[in-house]
Amino acid sequence: MVTELGGLETVLLEEDKPPVVYLSPSDWMRQNLFNNWYNALITFLVGASFVAAVVLTLRWLLAADFQIVRTNLRVFMIGQFPRDELWRPWVSGFLLAGAGGLVSGAMWRNALEDAEEKGLPYPPHSWTDLLRRFWAIIVILLFFVSFARTLPPYIGLLLIFVTIYITREAGMRSKPALRIRVPFIGALLLLVSFIALAGTSGLGASSIGAALGWWTSFEIGRRTETPTLQHTVTRWISAVVVGVVAWIAVRAIGFEGFGWDDWGGIHLTLFVTVVGVSIGLPFGILLALGRQSKLRIIKSATVVFIEFVRGVPLITLLLFSTFLLPLFIPIDITIPGPLTRAMIVITAFSAAYIAEIVRGGLQAVPLGQTEAAQASGMSVGAIQRLIVLPQALRAVIPAMVGQFISLFKDTSLLSVIGLLEFLQVSAVANAQTEFLGQGLVSVTYPFVALGYWAFAYTMSKESRRIEAKLGVGVR
């Protein structure tokens, strides 16, 4: 909040900062390690066990045979994806990298211009800063690729980094007219990358239709100064028409895919997380609004759903998806595959948790905001959409990233119901005849742990950064 009220911002001048004291190494050690007898004792004990741990780790690292990782690297990354179709993950990876670079570059430029408009200082763009923020993921990706036995993965990873660099630079240099449309371009790239992987499934085609329809509605909305009823009707009708035409067109192209039942590895883990959060989000917002509602039936129904889902472990819900969900599907419809069922349950699970996060945000919006909106004659829907939700959602972005991380970690439970996600690959690899019974889990588990850790650690650092930037919780 403080940053928005430019006048209240305290800018530390160079001479106001406390002087930086440089200590000699011996003074530094005396102050930070041996300042009294028990700290000296702690330093010795902790230091000794730390050295022991490092020695043990190094000994393990030097003695460990990483052949199991080398053989199974592809399974760790993309599971049982058909071998002839490896171009699909690569194409989707490039599209994702492009979308990410473009959106992040445009967002940086927007933030810069926003700050300039308010006369606030904004740190100059630096690639080293980005390296510092994402070092964990970059290092782990390089580490993973170092196990590849052929050349293409190295080139592919290099090209992905280059793609991110180029598209981010492009995003930063883009004109305002392009920049406001960047979210749509990013979303379309994302969906096309999904279609490249899975083919023109109903889901992909419908979401492309929805995205294009939304874009149309946005374009018309931008061009109307004061919306009249006629404008609104035109907007809606053309949005629906464009959406349906796009849907039919995409289906007509008939791009073949496999569906996702063969997906696996870290690719599956990330996919389930992204789908769980992005589809869970709208449902979560609806549930949160329902829980805040004055209408008793709606309120109690949402409370029962949220509290039930949050009260039982995810495993029992996944068991539900395996054993019970098929029983609730109409008898004349084929039962969808285990991954689809698991994703239905995971979406419901994340919706319930997101609902509680959003509820926290809704409660943080002062009642005066709603009352002022009511006094100016806004409708119930408009108050929620234009006044309450923007403030509530802004306040809960860090918590939402936290939920994303926790869902990312929770997808490991899919291994219990036999889906080949990142952790399960380790079990599968250890069951192969050449590696069976050699206790190689002590190689594969640390490998898997590093993968999880790099993503979760980077995201949690980013969430803290956003939190500091938004000034949430600072008064």
């Binding site: 930070n32 390690l33 300042n35 700290n39 702690i42 330093t43 902790v46 230091g47 730390f50 004055k294 209408l295 008793r296 039936i297 709606i298 129904a301 039930f308 009260g311 039982v312 472990p313 995810l314 495993i315 029992t316 068991l319 539900f320 054993f323 019970l324 098929p326 029983l327 609730f328 599907i329 109409p330 008898i331 991380i405 970690k409 929770d410 490991s412 439970l413 291994s415 219990v416 952790l423 206790g439 889990v441 002590s442 588990y445 640390p446 898997v448 742990a449 999880y452 850790w453 979760a456 650690y457 949690s460």
Partner: protein, 423 residues
């Protein structure tokens, strides 16, 4: 399906018509002035009621649809929907447990719930102790300790708990010598054999009562009562006179005095029992299932990383003036923490701690991955014997809901006692 939706829409329209007619009739009869009343589609009361009824209709329709599908499917596969199967023999055998595979399913599930409870019982205190130590370490003036605690927290918070569990089991505990067959005698026995580690069991010394043990037990109970009385007495002395109470020191020493004197007076009523493996059979000492130790420790280590963040945050939330005042009163570092900072921090930390306890209790279900026979594993096992899934899963979910409910009730009770009364 379409027929049902049609009936529902017709019913809703009928309700609306009846409502409007009845309201008009009542208005006519009572002669009420309705000129300032908005039309029904703008009347907030009418709209609220309409929304409620439509919502109810949608929920009923959905439930009905799901139930119909469910009945169709269960009829097709001939699934019986009652709870008679609970009396059938379970076919589940649990290591180190007297429960026979012929015992009814009911008893097997009860044993599983008991094992879940045991993981919670030992693990939660452990995670709180570990988390508090690490949380305080992160605020230490010792650079090395601080950094290592940070590494611990950043590592364990960012990997899946399931990975911690399977790693603890597959890469650590399973590596102990096998306890099965001939190799049982080769298990690792540190401290002159008072402890035994194998990949099946972990044994440590226990107490075995001799002939006068029942008398000694009574004396111990008396000693505890005396200690509590001393505690109360010293507190009242402190409250009345303001003299130092030293209540813990007094109470503990009186307990120790009574128990040691009576131990010798009764001529050693108990002795330590050393665990041993003789001819593949474990004798003496107290034995724990190794999977139990693995799941409990793994969950505690994982949860401690979250607890430590809560502890750290709560310590930082204590006002700086409190610490400065304590320093001005010349309290030592320990006293500052013990009497000024921690009591206030604990009050802040407790509500989020309850959340972690709830997470812990739900995470116990992950023992299914390493095959420790707690509730989820047992139910999973029963699924494998094609026992009816709907009822079993319902029972399992109710068990966890009950644990969640009990833990939050307990937490809210303690929290109510902790918070400052008033304001």
């Amino acid at each position: 399906m379409f027929q049902r939706v049609g009936i529902a829409v017709a019913a809703l329209v009928a309700i609306a018509v009846v409502f409007l007619v009845v309201r008009a009739v009542i208005d006519r009869v009572t002669g009420r002035d309705t000129s300032d009343r908005p039309p029904p589609w703008r009347d907030i009361n009418v709209l609220h009621w309409a929304a409620q009824i439509v919502a109810l209709a949608l929920i009923v329709l959905l439930a009905d649809w799901l139930w119909t599908n469910f009945r169709d499917r269960t009829d097709a596969i001939g699934l019986v929907l009652n709870f008679d199967f609970l009396s059938q023999p379970s076919g589940v055998s649990i290591a180190d447990n007297a429960l026979s595979p012929n015992a009814p399913i009911r008893d097997a599930i009860a044993q599983g719930v008991k094992n879940t409870f045991l993981i919670i019982l030992l693990g939660i205190p452990l995670s709180v102790i570990l988390g508090t130590i690490i949380g305080i370490s992160r605020l230490s003036t010792n650079w090395l300790l601080r950094k290592l605690a940070t590494v611990y927290v950043e590592f364990f918070r960012n990997i899946p708990v399931l990975l911690v569990i399977v790693f603890a089991w597959g890469a650590v505990f399973l590596r102990f010598p096998s306890s099965a067959g001939q190799t049982a005698e080769r298990a690792w026995r540190p401290l002159n054999g008072w402890f035994i580690f194998s990949n099946g069991r972990f044994a440590f010394p226990s107490i075995v009562g001799l002939d006068k043990f029942s008398t000694y037990r009574v004396i111990i109970v008396v000693a505890i009562i005396v200690a509590i009385a001393v505690l109360i007495w010293r507190t009242s002395v402190f409250n009345n006179t303001g003299h130092p109470h030293h209540r813990v020191r007094y109470a503990f020493s009186s307990f120790l005095a009574i128990s040691i004197i009576s131990f010798f007076a009764l001529g050693a009523p108990f002795e330590m029992s050393k665990p041993d493996v003789v001819e593949r059979i474990w004798v003496g000492g107290f034995r724990m299932q190794m999977p139990y130790v693995a799941i409990m420790l793994a969950l505690a280590i994982y949860t401690a990383s979250h607890v430590s963040e809560i502890v750290r945050g709560s310590i930082l939330s204590v006002h700086k003036g409190q610490v400065e005042a304590a320093q001005a009163l010349a309290l030592s570092g320990f006293q500052r923490y013990r009497y000024v900072v921690l009591p206030q921090a604990f009050r802040v930390a407790f509500p989020p701690l309850i959340n972690q306890f709830l997470n812990y209790s739900k995470n116990t279900s992950l023992a299914v991955a390493i095959g420790f026979a707690e509730a989820t594993s047992i139910v999973f096992n029963l699924f494998g014997q094609s026992q009816p899934a709907p009822q079993l899963l319902l029972i399992l979910m109710l068990v966890y809901l009950a644990f969640s409910l009990l833990l939050s009730l307990f937490g809210n009770f303690v929290n109510g006692r902790l918070q400052i009364v008033g304001r």
